[in-house]
């Protein structure tokens, strides 16, 4: 039964001085009991679709077309009809659950508000039902949680509450806007599972909005791909995600690094922000298959097969990835350095030895132990990947390497000299031997300074004469494939991709011995991510320099790292050559990360491990930090801390490492 049917929806947002065609002729259908994925990059119009469905368009916007919910047009509802429809007809799970919960009202009250409004309950009944609802989304001791305020909840807990708020309205259609942003892999799977359950068990329609194709691939029945406010392709999930017909869908899928190590393909340009509804194919300027007609007329959406429609004059066919791809997993297309074997033959550029970092809280009492005895080294010409979930100490490690935080124990050597032993000017000199590329590309550029200023800063700090600064800035700009006209711009005039190239240029210009990339692509859109990854691969190929790539995403580091370090709660749990870590993980944590990582391809093929709890629930304890979550933990694990010991080509901090494969088989 068709629940929601959007027909030829146009949304134009008019503000003084600018006009944006946010949606241009969107058609979309959601049936009861069905999960439909709405995918695309940011700016494509995903959230606008969600807002249209509940009639919550931003100010200055004008919508035409029809948004039919069970036959009634949402765009033409009056105030009281809308009030009755919202929540009960369609309810949204917002992207940022912490922000979407009212901070001054208890979780219970907010839940009761929904129940009383939509289910005509008395507050007494609603209180009972609220507790049941919280329990059903996997919250333990729900009665206690009802009295909690949102800021007292962890991220995962807040997302569960958000889901219970939306389902509490008993809506026909559940809309989830990026529901798993910021959650670890274990939680992501569980939360997504709840939406599948809502469709299967309760017969709701689910519209699942996401930029992350791999993670939603498993639970969607159908997928709709948006580009610049238009639907470019729609069809059964298996079809669209494996053999997409539209060049954009294919580009999107091939831009995402995958843990199976297949090559990432780069698509030039970025998504345009349209001022008016397009009169040609909006993807044509970036499309390798575009012909003259593509730039003249807008392709009509046509049926390829049953329920599979595409808006393209030259639809492609066949699987998006060659089946043979995993044959050469590492050092793929873009990377031009040698394979892991001859890396590390240069001199050592970074050595971290038994480093501990404790952030002390200002008023006495403990503090946060961010790193607990980390040792590693990087040689010239080598790229080290550092992976781990959020909160594992990745960023602290990056800051430590740059001398931005001092170790409370142990020491850090850059280019053979210990950071903590030098002061003043010498320290500043030494610091320039290591450079960092930051997570937030625009935020890491000073808002009131020009690009030229930003790139030249390391040189000026080192006292290089102005003439030479200009020459070297020009040279590095060329390497980043940026036009010199960008030099006079300021950060707010740059796109994320441009800003990150400038960040890399700044890191590169002083010819440092080490560059640390701290989550360099996590703030970027998928196709831009692929472009930046290519630049990073090229830069880290320099034989004279060592690189460190820090990421929460295993797939990202697989592409061009020689060695991998896996961090967990401030400790290294596994370290080894990239193929070894991905192909033959020895620590249960590494194996669990790989098992949980979403993949559009084969994914992790070895025996899988699932952790028993998510990170938020696990209590700190003595012994191995993973013990509370590890399915193989023994009494010894809980009592004794584990040290890194060689196992094959890797080093692993688990005394049961050798038995694990056998344990999984059982």
């Amino acid at each position: 039964m068709t629940l929601l049917s959007i027909e030829d929806l146009f949304v134009v947002i008019r503000r003084p001085g600018r006009e944006v065609a946010a949606l241009s002729g969107v058609d979309l259908r959601v049936d009861a009991g069905e999960v439909v994925g709405l995918v695309g990059e940011s700016g494509g119009g995903k959230s606008m679709v969600a807002r249209s469905v509940v009639g919550l368009l931003p100010g200055g916007s004008q919508a035409t077309g029809r948004v039919l919910f069970e036959g009634a047009d949402v765009l033409r509802m009056d105030r009281s009809e809308l009030e009755a429809f919202r929540g009960k007809g369609a309810a949204i799970c917002f992207q940022n659950p912490r922000g979407a919960l009212s901070p001054t009202r208890t979780v219970g009250r907010q839940l009761v508000d929904r129940l009383v409004t939509h289910r005509a309950m008395t507050s007494g009944e609603a209180g009972e039902t609220a507790a049941e609802l919280l329990e059903s989304v996997g919250i333990r001791s729900p009665r206690r949680r009802l009295a909690a305020y949102p800021h007292e909840l962890s991220g995962g807990m807040a997302q569960r509450v958000m889901i219970s708020l939306a389902t509490g309205c008993a809506p026909g259609l559940l809309i989830a806007d990026e529901p798993t942003t910021g959650l670890d892999v274990t939680l992501t799977r569980e939360i997504l599972g709840r939406f599948r359950l809502a469709a299967n068990a309760e017969g709701r329609g689910v519209l699942l909005i996401s930029h992350d194709l791999a993670s939603i691939a498993e639970i969607c029945d159908r997928v709709v791909v948006l580009y610049a406010g238009t639907v470019v392709e729609t069809g059964p999930a298996a079809q669209v995600l494996n053999e997409p017909a539209h060049p954009y869908t294919r580009a999107l899928l091939r831009s995402v690094p995958d843990i199976d190590g297949r090559p990432v393909a780069v698509t030039r340009g970025s998504m345009p922000l349209l001022r008016r509804a397009p009169s040609s194919c909006p993807f044509a300027p970036r499309c390798a298959h575009a012909t003259e007609p593509c730039t003249r007329e807008r392709p009509v959406t046509g049926d390829l097969a049953h329920d599979w429609r595409v808006a393209c004059l030259h639809p492609r066919s066949g699987p998006v990835v060659e089946p043979a791809a995993p044959a050469s997993p590492s050092r793929t297309s873009a990377g031009e350095g040698g394979d892991g074997g001859d890396a590390g033959d240069g001199g050592e550029v970074l050595r971290v030895e038994d480093a501990h970092v404790v952030y002390r809280s200002r008023f006495g009492g403990g503090g946060h132990h961010a790193l607990r005895g980390v040792s590693l080294s990087v040689a010239a010409g080598e790229t080290l990947g550092v992976v781990g979930e959020s909160g594992c100490g990745k960023s602290t490690l990056a800051r430590l390497m740059l001398g931005l935080v001092a170790p409370s124990r142990g020491h850090v050597e850059v280019a053979g000299r210990t950071l903590s032993r030098v002061r003043g000017r010498k320290l500043r000199r030494l610091r320039t031997r290591a450079q960092m590329v930051f997570q937030d590309p625009v935020g890491s550029l000073s808002p009131r300074r020009t690009v030229e200023d930003a790139i030249g800063e390391p040189l000026r700090a080192a006292g290089v004469p102005a003439g030479e600064v200009a020459v070297r800035v020009a040279r590095v700009l060329e390497r980043m494939e940026l036009d010199p006209s960008i030099l006079r711009r300021r950060p707010h005039e740059l796109s994320g991709g441009q800003a990150q190239r400038i960040g890399i240029a700044r890191a590169l210009v002083g010819d440092p011995d080490l560059i640390v990339f701290d989550e360099p692509t996590s703030a970027l859109d998928v196709t831009v991510q692929a472009q930046i990854l290519k630049v990073i691969a090229e830069v880290s190929g320099d034989r004279s320099r060592g690189s460190v790539l820090i990421s929460h995403d295993l797939a990202t580091v697989r592409g061009f790292c020689d060695r991998i370090v896996v961090l967990y709660l401030g400790r290294i749990v596994e370290e080894g050559p990239v193929d070894e870590v991905f192909g033959n993980p020895r620590h249960p944590y590494t194996r669990a990360l790989l098992s949980g990582a979403p993949s559009l391809g084969a994914g992790f093929t070895g025996p899988r491990v699932e952790l028993t709890k998510d990170l938020e629930e696990a209590d700190a304890a003595d012994g191995c930090a993973l013990a509370p979550r590890c399915p193989f933990a023994t009494a010894e694990c809980r009592e004794r801390e584990q040290e890194l010991r060689p196992h094959g080509a890797s080093r692993v901090a688990c005394h049961r490492a050798a038995e694990i494969p056998a344990l999984i088989e059982r």
Binding site: L82, G99, S102, P103, R105, R109, D113, R114, T117, L165
Partner: protein
């Protein structure tokens, strides 16, 4: 229980501030140029007269000695003797605090209510004519010199319309109001003196109106800005997107969240109002704390200046403390 512990720690934190305040007020009157003895004795007094007077008020002692005496006095509640009137400062002050506090507290309360109602209304009608009118009116109110506004109100309401009593005093003496706290409205209510209550209310009308007009703008702007922020927040959008009714949205999701930042500002405005009352009392011959302190200042009456500045600071600090507590009650995110 949590609130109690919070209160206790905050009170402890006040100790160094109050010590600093005591030192500062003490130094203020002594380091800056000017001689109170000369001021009271007049230009014809001889050097011997001056020396005798100095000895009488302890001003011939070394500075540290004077400070110790002053501190010792504070701990026993002795604020010294007024150089001008020769009466104990403490008892003079006691009858002056009531009238001024009544004026300030009533004005602040009215201003808070007006600011909340208009601020939220303005935010819900943001960008429309009504909103702009309210904001410009508040700006004008905030730009008016209070002493001038008082005069204009007297001119219009007393001289022109004859609706208000003459701007001299706080209550009609014929009503024979007996003094309890000095706050006339309160005293009238406590002694069940109907005519005095009405008279006090009439006398309060213009000064309160003056103060309210002057202090309402910053409060209103804060409520409006907070309410706008809440209305635009994801949390409010989410509640609206889930179809909650307007009344529930207003009461449960807008009001409390929009008032979270008000207490701290109200405390600041309280201080501003205390400053303004000095001027307003002067215009309306209120005979309150402000006029008394002003006279002390003009005659360099050390004990009066010290005592009045210290007491104002004390009140101000306590009001900030109350604001902190109210904030903590309103906003569950405050860690206490």
């Amino acid at each position: 229980m949590r609130i109690l512990r919070f209160l206790l720690t905050r009170l402890l934190q006040l100790v160094p501030v109050l010590a600093g305040v005591a030192v500062l007020t003490f130094l203020l009157v002594r380091v800056l140029p000017g001689d109170p003895i000369r001021t009271i004795l007049g230009p014809n007094a001889t050097e011997a007269d001056a020396a005798a007077a100095r000895a009488r008020f302890g001003l011939d002692q070394p500075l540290w000695r004077q400070f110790l005496d002053y501190l010792g006095g504070l701990f026993t509640g002795d604020f010294g003797t007024s150089i001008q009137s020769g009466a104990p400062v403490g008892s003079e002050m006691a009858v002056r605090i009531g009238p001024t506090m009544e004026l300030v507290v009533i004005s602040l309360a009215v201003a808070l209510v007006v600011a909340t109602v208009l601020g939220i209304w303005s935010a819900r009608h943001a960008g429309r004519f009504g909103d702009h009118t309210v904001r410009v009116a508040a700006l004008i109110g905030n730009s008016v010199p209070e002493f001038w506004l008082g005069l204009v109100l007297v001119l219009v309401v007393y001289n022109g319309l004859g609706w208000a009593p003459a701007p001299s005093g706080r209550v009609d003496p014929d009503t024979e109001l007996s003094l309890l706290t000095g706050a006339d409205l309160l005293d009238a209510a406590l002694t069940a003196n109907g005519p005095a209550f009405v008279s006090a209310l009439e006398h309060l009308m213009l000064p309160v109106a003056t103060l309210v007009i002057v202090i309402v703008a910053p409060l209103l702007r804060s409520v409006r800005a907070s309410a706008l922020e809440v209305l635009g927040s994801e949390a409010y959008t989410a509640a609206a997107a889930h179809g909650l009714r307007d009344r529930l949205l207003l009461r449960g999701y807008l009001l409390r969240a929009a008032l979270v930042r008000l207490p701290a500002l109200a405390a600041l405005v309280f201080g501003f109002a205390i400053g303004s009352t000095v001027l307003v009392e002067y215009v309306f011959s209120w005979q309150g704390f402000g006029q008394w302190a002003l006279r002390g200042l003009l005659y360099r009456d050390y004990p009066v200046v010290q005592a009045s500045v210290l007491v104002i600071a004390l009140f101000y600090v306590v009001v900030f403390l109350i604001a902190d507590v109210v904030h903590a009650i309103l906003d569950p995110r405050v860690r206490i």
